[in-house]
């Protein structure tokens, strides 16, 4: 009897991949320099999910924590973190006026996450939650959404898509902010801005009337969850949108394979938009959205097919980590590697829950 080739998680390779991210990186990573904290986050969180955080030894953790606090900024408009030391203008850490080294909402969310993952106990003494929330509050704009930074006039600057709403709501949750706290954000406006981005097919887009997108749907739903606004709304269309992102080709739709964006190797995986190819990260965005909506809804996903897709098609069997798509010529990147690992861990949890 031949054993069927059961797909396998290459645990050791993934652990080595995440460790490499913390070490020396080739110059191709230059273009990701502004997101350096994010790379650290994916590496540590990836190891944590694999239950291998203990391979990051205490001295290294202490150095990491030290490095994170190096990016903490104190400004008159509030406090927060920068994304990489390459933004450090070499000025005094606490500046009396706005400059080109402002805190960034995404970096603040990531830095806090890392400090939580590393269980840093000094966080309460070293950070001022009211001042961090003051910065977040000031990044909120009229329509309820958020921009990532404040400019030299102390005004919100940049794109205001759903990602920053989720980030703002997450920071608020991290800091245990609640109604009545001094610098709270406007939740009513935030809720309205999220709802306005729900599209005719049930998914969410970056702005009002932009195309539904798996990742942005996650941002919308998780924001509503974080501010306790999931209940009392109909999610039928959203669930329908999300569950249809799992890719399947059968006898009945095989003609669709003639279309350039459809690929038989994507079966079991998820796309983020209609008629797009599969991508490791959308498995998480869709699974996560369903899970947030209800433990019951996440079971709609075909876990076996998804697991096969991730382990056989996007897991990088040589380097460890995960590729973005099923294209064999790709190399893994920190983001998709983390997304692959976290999705498989959700699947594992669901499976063992059903067994138990």
């Amino acid at each position: 009897m031949t054993m069927s080739a059961m797909p396998e998680l290459l645990l050791e390779k993934h652990v080595r991949y995440f460790h490499r991210l913390l070490g020396i990186l080739p110059s191709q990573f230059q273009s990701a320099d502004s997101n350096k904290l994010v790379i650290i986050y994916f590496a540590l969180n990836g190891l944590d999910i694999l239950n291998k955080l203990d391979t990051v030894k205490i001295p290294e953790r202490e150095l990491l924590i030290k490095r994170i606090y190096e990016n903490y900024l104190v400004l008159p408009g509030g406090e927060g973190f920068r994304g990489s030391e390459t933004y450090n203008l070499g000025e005094n850490k606490s500046s009396s006026s706005y400059n080109y080294d402002p805190p960034n909402l995404a970096a603040t969310f990531i830095a806090l996450s890392i400090l939580f993952i590393l269980k840093d106990s000094s966080i309460v003494q070293r950070l001022d939650r009211d001042k961090i929330m003051k910065y977040v509050q000031r990044c909120q704009i009229q329509d309820g959404s958020f921009k990532p930074i404040l400019n030299l006039d102390g005004k919100p600057f940049g794109d205001s898509d759903l990602r920053y709403s989720m980030i703002a709501a997450t920071i608020r949750k991290f800091l245990k902010y609640d109604k009545g706290d001094n610098n709270d954000i406007d939740l009513k406006l935030l809720e309205a801005s999220i709802i306005s981005r729900k599209s005719y097919d049930g998914g969410f887009g970056s702005e009002v009337f932009t195309e539904s997108h798996g990742g942005l749907t996650y941002c919308g739903i998780s924001t509503l969850k974080l501010i306790n606004r999931i209940e009392g709304k109909s999610w039928d269309k959203t669930i329908d949108f999300l569950i249809h992102r799992q890719i399947s080709f059968t006898e009945y739709n095989k003609k669709e394979l003639e279309y350039e964006f459809n690929d038989i190797d994507d079966i079991g995986g998820f796309n983020g938009r209609l008629n797009k190819y599969g991508d490791t990260c959308y498995a998480f965005w869709c699974l996560g959205s369903l899970k947030i909506l209800s433990d019951e809804f996440v079971k709609f996903v075909d876990f076996t097919e998804l697991e096969k897709y991730l382990l056989n098609k996007t897991q990088n069997k040589i380097m460890g980590g995960f590729n973005k798509t099923s294209d064999e010529d790709e190399i893994p990147d920190p983001f998709h590697s983390f997304m692959g690992i976290i999705t498989l861990s959700i699947i594992n949890d669901e499976k063992s829950r059903n067994d138990g």
Binding site: L89, E211, K255, I267, F300
Partner: protein, 318 residues
Amino acid sequence: MEMDDFSWDDIEPCEISSAGTSGVEICNIQYSDEYKLVMGYLIKLMSLKEYSERALILTDQVIKLVPAHYTIWQYRFDIIKFLKKDILKELEWCERVALENQKNYQIWHYRQLLIELYINNNGKFKPEFEYPLIDTMIGEDNKNYHVWAYRKWLVEKFNLYADQREIFFINEMLTKDIRNNSAWNHRFFIFFNNNNKEITKNLIKQEIEFTKNAIDLAPQNPSPWNYLLGIYENEKFNLNLKDLEPFLLKYSNIEEELNDGKIEPLIISTFSLEILAKIYQLNNLSEKSIKIYNLLADKYDPIRKNYWHYKRDNLISI
């Protein structure tokens, strides 16, 4: 103009290293010499808040090296304003950068800022100035999310909802690729946006016909199905989903399978089955809906088996 065309002797570039101020090396990126030099000057000029021609050239270099840099756009914008640069020339620069790097996202927001600045200074801006760039970008990637969002912004900013060029563009896109969901979405926006007070019965009828024809071209293409449901399930339009039944039965002779199961049915679209199940439920024919959900789960769409079972079980519990 290049960086070499300017003198940099008066400034000492900052040292760029992965070690940070604490000397701890984490995520030690092996920066190229070019990167270290360019970023070293940038940090210096930014901290001096220098708004000059050489600073402008420098931002061009940085944007090419690190498109995701989150303060560079603000800095460049401040330079443009301070030097009172020709905004149309800056839009041309913007265009070159967008074409060089399709994945440069922040540039679209920057472009909006420039156009708003131009309007502030000159009063008027012709939106058609933007069409060649959009055409080229969409030609490279017909589903580029940011370009479609930019086109939507343009429509809102310049009130182009009723502009014939908009629907011409959408139709051209859908003729080239009927599965382009970005084009379908833009279509929904143009016709059913919140500003359109003229959502007439004729318009709705026209869109239903258009969509039905599109479905006929490729019955398993999900985009027009979602569009069709988007219209039918919009409470404001006051339509009855049941009216779709004859159309749906064109894509599935499911009645025969439901009756005796002896004839192998011809299912051309699983989406028609999904909607039929809803309609039978509305018609209090739950038995039929249940059978359809079972067929979807077991035969036509087994990857979503648990979802179809859930739908079925909800009917049973009613």
